[in-house]
């Protein structure tokens, strides 16, 4: 496989993009050229075949002329269409900056510094096509109760396009904020998303990602989080759509006494393939991480969970817990689950566990004996399994939406 399908896009991209991030694009293209395309021989890609993506000649999405909405939206809601930040009409709190990367009026030293372009070919590709995206900067001490919701909408054209979605979230000292990323679209396209998150000392971020792409779409996402001392990061990443999906989450503790909760729910059916790849790097002592991923696989769906936890030599008093639970609803669904702990410190608490099961026959019979038909009983128990994650999401509207979607 070669990368010509993508490198061919660079020149036409530059022709229509501003020069603002040209230096970042150039640096990323050097990485992109040097990196190999992952194959099954790569340990981290053993169960996910990206050949369908590499072999598709994606086009750049059409540049849409978007007009501002006529009235103020309810809440802090923003739209990114085909990678372009749309005009909006929200009352952004004074001091906060929520808007487009293209028109940011400050320098963004964190941009491109958290995501690992030299180690991830898709991240390098994202930066190679970086011109716009979403930016959230919350100043020191600001506490925002209202969630910020950013919808990444892929609008299909005549040919399958690459939607290069980019987000930078910077949370200042002791600031609190909730950010929801939602990915939706129609038809065939390739979302290549990179989200960089920088949490300052004592910052608190509640991050939710709802991946509801079209079932014909490819979705590759890399979310990287750099956490300063005493910061708190909570994430719930829900994957429902997409034909071929890879969600990478990489958390790095850069200071002590920080805490990360990394939860996920993935539901796949038909021939969907959903790969969750998480890395939690305990580079500093006295940090805690809690990770719970649950998967529900039906039809011929294929799920992958790979959870790495590194505890570096000096990271004493680390408390790390990782769990992956999978519910297989059909005989043909497959899961490959792999916990991977590498511990170089000696005074730490680390646990991991994986369970794979089917719906419980005794529970099904109990529901049936109360008049509930077999199909409804299966849905109810599946919902109960998923609800364990859904219930932990703090935004009620998101919980309600997911509940009705899962019970159907």
């Amino acid at each position: 496989m070669d990368k010509a399908n993508f490198t061919n896009l660079f020149e036409p991209f530059d022709a229509r993009a501003t020069r603002r991030y040209q230096h970042l694009r150039q640096a990323a293209r050097t990485c992109f050229a040097a990196l190999a395309i992952p194959t099954a021989r790569f340990e981290d890609w053993r169960f996910t075949n990206v050949a369908p993506i590499m072999q598709t000649p994606f086009v750049l999405p059409s540049v849409a002329r978007m007009s501002a909405p006529r009235g103020p939206s309810e809440g802090l809601r923003f739209l990114v269409r085909n990678g372009q930040f749309a005009p909006h009409w929200c009352r952004v709190p004074n001091g906060a900056h929520i808007g487009s990367l293209a028109s940011a009026n400050t320098d963004l030293p964190a941009l491109g510094q958290i995501a690992d372009e030299s180690g991830n070919v898709f991240t390098a590709l994202n930066s190679s096509l970086l011109a716009d995206g979403a930016l959230v900067v919350i100043p020191d001490g600001m506490v925002l109760d209202q969630p910020i919701e950013i919808t990444f909408n892929a609008v299909a054209g005549d040919r399958a396009a690459i939607c290069n979605s980019r987000t930078l979230i910077v949370v200042g000292k002791n600031a609190h904020v909730t950010v929801v990323e939602r990915y939706v679209g129609d038809g065939s396209y390739f979302t290549n998303a990179v989200t960089e998150i920088a949490l300052s000392e004592g910052a608190v971020l509640d991050h939710v990602k709802l991946q509801q792409e079209s079932t014909a779409a490819y979705h590759i996402a890399n979310t990287q989080i750099a956490m300063a001392a005493k910061s708190v990061f909570t994430s719930h990443y829900v994957s429902l759509g997409g034909a071929l999906v890879r969600n990478e989450v990489r958390v790095r503790f850069d200071g002590e006494y920080a805490e990360a909760t990394v939860n996920g729910l993935y539901m796949a059916q038909g021939k969907q393939h959903i790969d969750n790849f998480t890395v939690i790097d305990h580079a500093q002592p006295n940090c805690a991480s809690h990770e719970l991923y649950k998967g529900i696989l039906d039809g011929q769906a294929h799920g992958v969970f790979n959870g790495k936890i590194f505890v570096r030599k000096d990271a004493q008093k680390t408390d790390a817990k990782q769990t992956n639970k999978v519910l297989l609803l059909s005989d043909d669904a497959t899961i490959n689950t792999k916990p991977q702990l590498e511990i170089f410190a000696d005074d730490v608490k680390c646990t991991h566990g994986a369970t794979i099961g089917q719906l419980d026959a005794a529970q099904l019979f109990y529901l049936q004996s109360r008049g509930i038909g077999l199909e409804q009983a299966r849905r109810l128990l599946t919902f109960a399994f998923a609800n364990d994650i859904v219930n932990r999401i703090k935004i009620e509207a998101v919980r309600d939406e997911l509940e009705s979607r899962i019970v159907r």
């Binding site: 109990y366 529901l367 049936q368 004996s369 109360r370 008049g371 509930i372 109810l380 919902f383 364990d388």
Partner: protein, 253 residues
Amino acid sequence: MLTIHNLHARVADKDILRGINLTVKAGEVHAIMGPNGSGKSTLAGVLTGRDAFEVTQGQVLFNGKDLLDMDPEERAGEGVFLAFQYPVEIPGVTNSYFLRASVNAVRKYRGEPELDAAAFLKVVKQKAKLLHMPDDLLKRSVNEGFSGGEKKRNEIFQMAVLEPKLCILDETDSGLDIDAMKAVADGVNALRSPERAMVVITHYQRLLNHIVPDFVHVLSEGRIVKTGRKELALELEAHGYDPIKAGMAGAAS
């Protein structure tokens, strides 16, 4: 209401029921007693459609319909209710969600309109009051973290809400202390009515002090070997099951 004729059933190639005959009329309470392994719980499982049991012979009619031909949920729709010996825990599903799904499934089966949230809550609160159920029960996950007594009371509570025609109580007294047993028995007695029949399966006579039966049947090795009035239970309590077994052995020789 219920007619069991020459019922044979097995579990994993082992014959458990070997020709049960039993007729239960509306308004009657029948106790089925017997030693461990006599087939009491198998009978309950066969009547409610547990698929671990294979019926090899015989017939069960419920209000004239072939019960064995129905799925478990259809039997519930027809009005058969089993209070489980070991109620199942369902983490993540609240009692109220579960009960509403159940009530509406049964109503739908009977061609009745489904209850909306307000109407359902009214019914449930009234029944909870009748059975002195704690208010927080509805918000808790089905049976999760319940004590033995709470689980059994929750079964009776479900029974009260679903208003079945035939109630089968499978060792509802097992694992309960005397107060918990009395609370459960009071709940059952509150549900006795001329339109409703009950089959009370128990190992011990003590439950029958509180739920007084019209008939007592002794089950042994998969057959009903003796039938009597409530006094038979006292006799069993005094002498155990051995004399009946010995009588059978004597009759056979």
